[in-house]
Amino acid sequence: MRYNERELLSLARQPAEKAAEIRMSVPKKGNVLKKRLVKLVVNFLFYFRTDEAEPIGALLLEHCKITKEEENIFSISFIEEPERKYCFECATEEQCQEWVEALKRASYEFLRRSLIFYRNEIQKMTGKDPLEQYGISEEARFQLRAHRQ
């Protein structure tokens, strides 16, 4: 599958929501934990060798499961392949919890659900659709699932 790698690399250089040096393993035989610079930008998680400017890899964080594993460790796996896990060993339990929380909220789908929720609540409380003033009430992406194509 082709993709605009150049733009992804550019995205990896943007200011991150969260970045830290974390030991990480990819689902390969051996599962060796290696120290990486892990950077969350929009719905992508980039990981770099600590002394390199370009990421080794990127994970799109849609339809994924963030699991708190044992102490200081969390994992990311994807719906269609739940056994293949990317593991992350944090320095502290606190750091681990922060990352789990941040990653759970990192998907576009989560953002969409939040938007629909807030829209409904504001409408209930004030009687007005808050998206009307932006002229985007009818956009497909802001509708409840049932109405979308």
């Binding site: 082709r2 550019s10 719905n43 890899g57 339809h63 392949e81 504001i122 004030t126 194509q149």
Partner: protein
Amino acid sequence: MKLNERSVAHYATCDSPADHTGFLRKQLERHHHHGTSYQRCWFVLKGNLLFYFEERESQEPVGLVVLEGCTVELCEAAEEFAFAIRFDDAGARAYVLVADGQAAMEAWVKALSRASFDYMRLVVRELEKQLEEACRSLAACCKPPRRSSSSGRKRHLSNPALQPLQEKPTTLENGYSTWSIGGCVAGGATCTDHDGGQMKPPPLPPRRRLAASSAIGSQASGLSPAMLESPVSLEMICFSKLHNWYGQEIAVLRREWQERQKRGHP
């Protein structure tokens, strides 16, 4: 750079709803000096990701365009109904796409220009703020606001703690409407007394238990009695907490509805 391509491709083809789909002609990436050629592909927009497939029924996308940091503009290609996705990065190639007609082109340009994660996040943050303000003004207001119901679900006006409201909401300058209750305007303004000076918002109404039947009526206002008893506070503003909290209201509503069904009411 590696990408979790298998998962990305799965996301493209799974049955989660797409934001926009359709056939577009895509300018081929090889640069010809004489003329450009196009390939017709099936495009699927999901969130900030634009996938394209060889055929509508293809099992796997041919390609993906990540839509962060881009602009979408009409373009003066030789083709009619052409538009381009351009990236901020100077020297980056533009994706030139050609729609089947004017309406299709406009729909695509609109959908793509609002596709970025950044844009979505902006809107969510704005709504978060608005909800916070709405909650705050509810907590600060002298009487709980209530929409007067014209749908036939009349509330018991025998409850002295609640006063009837004006029929129409007033519109504030900041674009959203609230109800005017006596002289006190909700929506972030503080109540003024007769002196014209500003005073602190009056204390919250005392807790009270409302009868089950009046609880049904109060649903019309979007506020359940349980909520009035534990006023929504700023600490609850985080989405998941609010989600759980409002979930209680839904559970109550459901139960009541089911009971009414059993009793044979519509």
